[in-house]
């Protein structure tokens, strides 16, 4: 089994699925995904941004907290969530709300991570599920960063043949 490149799909109007394989046992992928000092290594902030807060407690009820600052704003953006479902090394579900430094909410979603391992190669599937269509559309309207994700759905909807 060779690792595949990133695959992105939009199975429903409110979801995005990211699929990627890694040459590592899923235990390690899990640790890399949910341990703060490891997260800081791969969760690359935009140029000029610094990660100021990175907390992650991958157990049911555990918190996810991230914050970034830029030259003008501290924080420039925050992300907060709670883990609602955790099967260590297999599956984790957490909520996620992003806010601008001003406190304005720019989007909420539920993110599910699923890990399967075969012959030392781990496949990670991330499913991003918007709480509602309104939340998704609101996110699109409020900023490009959110629009980025949602536009996949939008373009899909536009370019797909009518149902």
């Amino acid at each position: 089994m060779t690792p595949e490149g990133l695959q992105i799909s939009t199975p429903t109007d409110t979801t995005i699925v990211l699929l990627r394989t890694f040459h590592a046992p899923r235990r390690l992928v899990w640790t890399a995904m949910f341990t703060p000092d490891k997260m800081r290594r791969w969760m690359l902030p935009p140029p000029g941004w610094t990660t100021t807060v990175c907390e992650c407690e991958p157990h049911v009820g555990g918190k996810l907290r991230l914050a970034w600052k830029d030259a003008e704003n501290d924080p420039a953006m925050t992300l907060e969530g709670v883990f609602t479902e955790v099967v260590p090394h297999e599956r984790a579900v957490h909520t996620e709300t992003m806010k601008l430094g001003s406190g304005e909410t720019i989007g909420s979603l539920v993110e599910t991570h699923e890990f399967t391992e075969e012959g030392g190669v781990t496949t990670m599937r991330i499913t991003q599920q918007y709480a509602s269509k309104d939340a998704r559309d609101g996110a699109i309207a409020s900023g490009m960063d959110q629009g980025m994700e949602a536009c996949y759905l939008q373009l899909d909807a536009v370019l797909a043949p009518p149902a």
């Binding site: 490149g5 992105i8 390690l28 791969w42 935009p46 992300l79 989007g107």
Partner: protein
């Protein structure tokens, strides 16, 4: 996690335009209109009727699409004919490509990190040469 790497607070014409495009695409009625227009030029009545929408409501949506430069309208006699413009959609799709690139960059960083973690966890014995001590 969100693709924060793509957040860009710089305001440029291009981004302002893309904002209009994403805003325009955010409404199901406007997506339906674009779908209809992908089949060719339509007048406003033709666009309004399958949506069970009043003429003024359809006009309002078409205006939003026009502002985003997704639709061009021309007047022929008493008819307002609308046509799809593909270029802003292509631009928007390049942004979706950015989304993919952003995640790919993150996952490549994750690849390197995982290589390190694997190396730390199981230091490989020297491949050859007897009597060499294993690194601690």
């Amino acid at each position: 996690m969100k693709p924060i790497g793509i957040v860009n607070h710089m305001v440029s014409d291009r981004e302002a335009r893309l904002d209009l495009v994403f805003h325009a695409l955010a409404h199901p009625a406007r997506r339906a209109i674009l779908r209809q227009l992908s089949g060719g030029e339509r007048n406003l009545t033709e666009l309004a009727s399958p949506l069970r929408m009043t003429f003024p409501a359809a006009t309002k949506h078409v205006r939003v699409l026009e502002r985003a430069r997704l639709v061009r309208r021309r007047v022929a006699g008493r008819e307002h004919l609308c046509r799809l413009r593909a270029q802003p959609l292509e631009e928007a799709m390049r942004w979706t490509e950015q989304f993919r690139l952003h995640w790919e960059a993150r996952f490549e960083a994750l690849d390197s990190l995982l290589d390190e973690m694997k190396a730390e966890e199981a230091p490989r014995p020297a491949p050859r040469g007897r009597g060499r001590t294993r690194r601690s």
